[in-house]
């Protein structure tokens, strides 16, 4: 074996140590609720908990809303920046990275200050209003991933020339967006949506501070008070993640025009 090969395997071994071992440990632990034998008792306990169902479906709903809002805001923006404001790209990219480096807590403080019950727009006064704030916060959190995904998708097609070709054939902006741009970056949008979903499902700080019944706080509370159930929950979350991944693969395969790498 060449020394170069050894490096590659070493890197892979390090990767496995980091990821596989903790995961296997967690799975093994989640099966040991019943003393002495492996069982699914912890999973049964988690899945039958009505609070689990309530918080999980709340978070799923919020995640889907975040994805819709994110796509509607980000896809046209990223397209426009690529097409007409290429010199602004570094600035826009920097802005979209801000949520990664500004702690979410700053965001929440700001929101609470701006929209508290005594402000001009008392959103925190009602559950619906607070949900709206939460949605806005989630969209900001998802921004870096969504923007990067969409921008990567746009990079694989020749945005400027396709737009000009469609224009010369008489198409307006809405037609171009709906018939040419969106279909061609659908896979990229899905991968961004998938990341968004995962992030919103696991998010803790925003939901806790705005006091909404989301999955993240439920996970933390469970983690602090129980032994085996959190492990089971972690495994479930992980399984959902993989299911989403598989779904994206499936969609990619079904898209005829991307069957073969171009």
């Amino acid at each position: 074996m060449k020394p170069s090969r050894i490096w590659a395997w070493l890197a892979l071994a390090v990767g496995a140590l980091y990821f596989a071992l903790p995961l296997i440990g967690t799975i093994e632990f989640s099966l040991r609720m019943r003393r002495g034998v492996y069982s699914f008792d912890a999973y049964r306990a988690v899945l039958s908990d009505p609070q689990f169902r309530a918080t999980f479906s709340f978070s799923v709903f919020m995640a889907l809303m975040t994805i819709v809002l994110g796509v509607l805001v980000i896809a046209p923006t990223a397209y426009w920046v690529r097409l007409k404001l290429p010199r602004w790209r570094p600035i826009v990219e920097f802005i979209t990275l801000l949520p990664l480096v500004v702690p979410p807590i700053v965001l929440v403080f700001g929101y609470i200050r701006l929209y508290n019950t005594s402000s001009w727009l008392p959103l925190t006064g009602t559950a619906g209003g607070t949900n709206l704030l939460l949605l806005a916060g989630y969209t900001v959190l998802a921004l870096p991933y969504m923007y990067r995904a969409v921008d990567t998708g746009l990079r694989t097609i020749d945005v400027a020339t396709l737009t000009e070709a469609a224009q010369s054939l008489g198409a307006g902006w809405i037609t171009i967006m709906a018939r040419i741009i969106l279909p061609n970056i659908m896979v990229a949008i899905l991968s961004g949506a998938f990341l968004t979903f995962a992030i919103v499902i696991g998010e803790f700080v925003l939901a806790a501070l705005l006091n909404r019944p989301a999955f993240g706080p439920y996970l933390q509370v469970l983690g602090a008070n129980r032994a085996y159930e959190p492990a089971a929950l972690a495994v479930i979350t992980f399984a959902i993640t993989w299911a989403c991944m598989g779904l994206i693969q499936l969609v990619t395969r079904l898209q005829k025009h991307t069957q073969v790498p171009r």
Partner: protein
């Protein structure tokens, strides 16, 4: 009034003057090429006609109507791009029918036109394929069909063959020209390849640094270049210095050897002038139909396939001459003393 009328067109990017006082009148059905090196303004001019760039000043009239303030999707102009620009998510048939669908035409009409267009580009069976399943040449033919399907007033092609292989380039340029003639569509073709421009066009606009240096048919552009730039850019050229001995009879000496052009020269005796001779107008050895000759020694011989390029050193200056390769004749050896003959009518004279 011409079908396409461009007058006093100017374009600035910031302070850079990329198109300068561009004027052109194109008749209906004409095939016009914009030829020039990269950065000469040819693509910018084309994009102003298409509506993707806004002129700084000047007017563009198509069929009598000023289009400068129309958006690209209102101009009814077919455009073919160097990068094909087929929509990857649509089939070939959907690509070709895209413009008609956007215009809201009935389905039967679209299907009929798509079938007709697929026939014209000789790909009748490929309607169901996706662009990535086609070769580059096929993709560009589909792009052409898509541009023509909307029955545009004007067809614009922006270096459509640059991304293709040499052999496909040659066959596709014949096909494009044949389709253009058949449909009688007014066409502007942008290229940096002189052979493409010369072989396809009714007229050529040779551009340099934003200026249209010469407008004329291919034969005129090649044989009677109006400026030094056109002479150098289109074809190969021997540029030689000579000294006038008798302006009235056109007698000159080139590296000490006398030549008589048999036409008056606009320079004083003893003045230095510039001569330009194309390598293919020169021949090795004396020929009956030529009236000029020079003696020299072979500097080097390049075998280019069909053409043999021999460079002959005179007394300081070097002339290159092209001759067709024949299997029977071995090329001359380096160092041979040779005679180079030419017709004095082919000698272009410019001021030194």
């Amino acid at each position: 009034m011409a079908f396409l009328d461009i007058t006093r067109l100017e374009k600035f990017y910031g302070t850079t003057h990329v198109v300068k006082d561009f004027n052109l009148a194109v008749e209906k059905g004409e095939f016009i090429s914009f030829l020039g090196p990269s950065g000469c303004g040819k693509t910018t001019t084309l994009r102003m006609v298409a509506g993707f760039e806004t002129p700084s000043s000047g007017s563009i009239r198509i069929d009598g109507r000023d289009v400068v303030n129309l958006r690209p999707n209102q101009r009814n102009i077919g455009m073919v791009f160097q990068a094909y620009a087929l929509f990857p998510n649509l089939t070939v048939a959907q690509n070709i029918g895209f413009g008609l669908k956007v215009a809201g035409r009935p389905r039967a009409e679209i299907d009929e036109r798509v079938r007709e267009m697929l026939g014209i580009i000789h790909l009748p069976e490929l309607g169901g394929r996706f662009p990535f399943q086609l070769s580059g040449g096929q993709q560009q033919r589909v792009a052409l069909a898509r541009a023509l399907a909307i029955r545009p007033k004007l067809l614009l092609l922006d270096e459509p063959l640059s991304a293709l292989d040499a052999k496909i380039r040659v066959s596709l340029r014949q096909e494009i020209r044949a389709i253009q003639k058949k449909l009688g569509i007014t066409t502007i073709y942008v290229t940096h390849d002189q052979e493409e421009a010369l072989s396809m066009s009714d007229r050529i606009v040779v551009m340099n640094a934003g200026v249209a240096e010469q407008v004329g048919d291919p034969f005129t552009i090649y044989n009677r270049p109006a400026t030094r730039f056109v002479a150098g850019f289109v074809g190969t050229l021997n540029a030689l210095d000579a000294i006038v001995t008798d302006p009235a009879t056109g007698s000159i000496t080139l590296d000490g050897q006398p030549i008589r052009l048999n036409r008056p020269i606009d320079a004083a005796a003893g003045a230095s002038i510039g001569l330009a001779l194309r390598p293919e107008t020169l021949a090795l050895g004396p020929r009956p139909e030529t009236d000029g000759s020079l003696r020299g020694t072979v500097r080097d011989v390049q075998f280019l396939g069909s053409v043999l390029r021999v460079r002959v050193a005179l007394d300081g200056q070097v002339v290159a001459l092209d001759s067709f390769n024949t299997a029977a004749l071995r090329p001359p050896a380096v160092g041979d003393a040779v005679e180079v003959s030419f017709a004095t009518a082919d000698v272009l004279v410019s001021d030194g």
